[in-house]
Symmetry: C2
Subunit: 225 residues, 2 copies
């Protein structure tokens, strides 16, 4: 084995652009989450294909995945439409999120080691810094990263996959309220870290549940805020 002595990170991984359909998927998702494509809008395969500089095929495959993930509604022989979220649906989504995240918090408390806690501290620091700044997008991103890290510490791949799907959609709803939530959210994150570091399962669950419920309430009150 010649490669035995080579360090891990030094090989640039030979940047393979990955399947085109994946990149199209990501691109469209970006356009949807940034509201460049608005809810209810009619998406035409050929237009998207031309706009992205690829053929229709990858666009089709991407749209189908977006359909199964709940981002677009695919009406037969008519086209794809950006999904319009309803109040009920948002509520259900946030309910499920509470469930998944609470379980993740519990498992994280069970499994966490010093290194894991340190990572969370680090992310929390970055998040708090972002709150001070102007860019809402940064805050939302940091928030997602923090929750993803907790999920990773839980060590349940199936749970993580489900949460990934749910959280991404929650992020879409969350963006408008991120500003008002702001600082309070990161205080709660700190409490969560403390519970995890202390391996206090019950407390971790409670903190996380309360935290996500706050987010839910903020969402429902978003117009009046």
């Amino acid at each position: 084995m010649l490669s035995a002595g080579l360090p891990e990170g030094t090989m640039p991984k030979l940047e393979r652009p990955g399947p085109l359909r994946e990149r199209v998927y990501e691109a469209l998702l970006e356009l949807i989450t940034t509201r460049a494509l608005r809810p209810g809008q009619h998406l035409v395969e050929s237009e998207l294909a031309q706009h992205l500089g690829v053929s229709r095929q990858p666009v089709r495959e991407a749209l189908q995945r977006l359909n199964t993930d709940g981002w677009v509604d695919l009406r037969p022989a008519q086209g794809a439409f950006v999904h319009e979220p309803t109040e009920d649906e948002a509520d259900q989504l946030l309910t499920v999120r509470t469930l998944l995240e609470a379980e993740a918090a519990r498992l994280a408390a069970v499994n966490a080691d010093a290194a894991g806690v340190a990572e969370l501290e680090d992310l929390c620091g970055r998040g708090e810094a972002a709150v001070g700044g102007e860019e809402v997008e940064k805050v939302v991103e940091a928030n997602a990263a923090f929750h993803a890290r907790v999920m990773a510490l839980a060590g349940n791949a199936v749970l993580a996959e489900l949460a990934r799907q749910v959280d991404r959609r929650v992020r879409w709803y969350y963006t408008p309220v991120a500003r008002q939530r702001g600082a309070q959210s990161w205080i709660e994150h700190r409490e969560l870290i403390a519970a995890i570091a202390g391996k206090d399962e019950q407390r971790a669950v409670e903190v996380m549940r309360e935290h996500t419920e706050h987010t839910r309430r903020s969402y429902h009150e978003r117009e009046r805020g």
Copy 2:
């Protein structure tokens, strides 16, 4: 409106075959769950296409969905392989299932009405009848139907969608142990119905959690059984 007087069920709906990719998806899933396609097996698009009498296109799309749903692993430039489940993964899956089903039981207890309870009773009866018979497949099917009904009563579409994915894979693991679980499982179902009918949230959660945990333990002890 000429069609006003026509009864609802009389028009045979003109059996619309629906998108081909969907049928291919279902067909392949059937082949996987019945173990006609064994774990680790290499799936070749052109072979499947020819075998099913369709072109490669729908097969591709079906395989991609199977990939995102965790049924096959899609290795770039190499092909699709039927996913081989590991012990860890099964455990994680059953853990998540416990979580989702318990929440569903709670919500069902909150929302249930007389009609809903009656439906559960009915399904339970069918299930008990199936246990008496010989066909394991029938039992597994009845079990899935029962859990699906509870999920429907919960009235959370997002939760239901997640559970649908998870349960289908659980079903795959469950089949081998269905025979040993058999009757005991349906006794627990009866208890669950009682809890739901009595709108006892806490008890519904406990019963369901215990029920799914039993299944998990049965799975881990399957070889020795």
